[in-house]
Amino acid sequence: MRCKRCTEPAIIEIRRHRTSFCSECFLHHCREQVRRAIDKHRMIAPDERVLVAISGGKDSLALWDILLDLDYEADGVYLGLGIDDYSKRSQSFAERYADTRGAKLHIVDIPAEHGFGIPDAARATKRVPCSACGLSKRHLLNRAAIDGGYDVLATGHNLDDEAAVLFGNVLQWHVDYLARQRPMLPATDGFARRVKPLIRMGEREMAAYCVVKRIDYIVEECPMAAGNRHLRYKEVLNQIEERTPGAKATFYLQFLNEMLPHLDQVAAEERSMVGACSRCGAPSSQEICAFCKLVEKVG
């Protein structure tokens, strides 16, 4: 198989684009897709400072790499979740990348700063670890962006992640979640702008990007992820994709084009309900925000 762009031998086939690329042209393709997403959804202006949420996995490290290659001023932030060995190992991948690239990485360690890890939080709340983890990430990453004076917080959610979340939200018709499943959430009082520049990139392409660029990342799964709902949705979507290449991209990207504009009102109403947490001042629709409640329960 040959590269469709330059006819060198291909290293990857992207069935949904009916194309194949050599290493060089593949990297070019990745940067172009990210640039397109950034432009179309007005994610980042050229002179803005970006904080990239880094997990040590393929998506976040590749995103950081692409943003740096596109000449953005992008620093990273790694959130230590206190998931024993897994957290230690993923942190070392994040640090190693920052070192080789000479990039700046902030470390926020939940156990050191708040006295608990995600497994403790799951036990105390009697809910799945991902639930405490998700709300902690939202809170602490936003705080890191605001405190660091960054214009925008970027996360490595890719097309497969977004399609799986969309699938879940549609299965249950969670209209309010659908309304805020946006690639760019504008800054509001106390919230930094949040963007997902990888929405046009499949998960497989992100892993391939890291192989081609020789970026070492943590391949193994978070031990808390086993059996989670989104993994099942991804499997189902991939079965459809096997038979109909492009199905995932159509499902998600057409949602953005055709459906989201109808949900602007719902999103605006929700935003208007948000006040400030009486303990930490973070934006919250309740008197005490979800993170402060979690700290109280685990502490």
Binding site: M1, I11, I12, E13, S55, G57, D59, V128, C130, S131, C133, G134, L135, R138, D160, D161, A164, V165, G168, N169, H174, D176, Y177, R180, L185, T188, F191, R194, G202, E203, R204, M206, A207, A208, V211, V212, R214, V219, E220, E221, C222, A225, A226, N228, R229, H230, L231, K234, E235, N238, Q239, E242, E270, R271, V274, P283, S284, S285, C289, A290
Partner: protein, 73 residues
């Protein structure tokens, strides 16, 4: 050929096309990358007996829990 991934090691005899190998293993093409030595190979590439092959899973389950009401993600 020698196959490995983070969880196990197997020997398979070649020659074999990448796509056939992936379907023999019962995997989805969308869910893995096939790496020979240290380079990616496409589905039509033919693998030989002496090749060292990594089958790398690409699906991560990093959950995106639905956010609590009002706690905008």
């Amino acid at each position: 050929m020698h196959l490995h991934n983070p969880k196990r090691d197997v020997e398979v005899s070649g020659p074999l096309r990448v796509n056939d190998l992936v379907s023999q293993l019962g995997l989805s093409r969308e869910a893995v990358l096939v790496i020979r030595g240290d380079s990616l190979v496409t589905g039509d590439a033919k693998l030989d007996d002496h090749d060292d092959i990594e089958i790398r899973p690409v699906i991560s389950g990093g959950a995106q829990p639905r956010s609590a009401r009002g706690a905008r993600p």
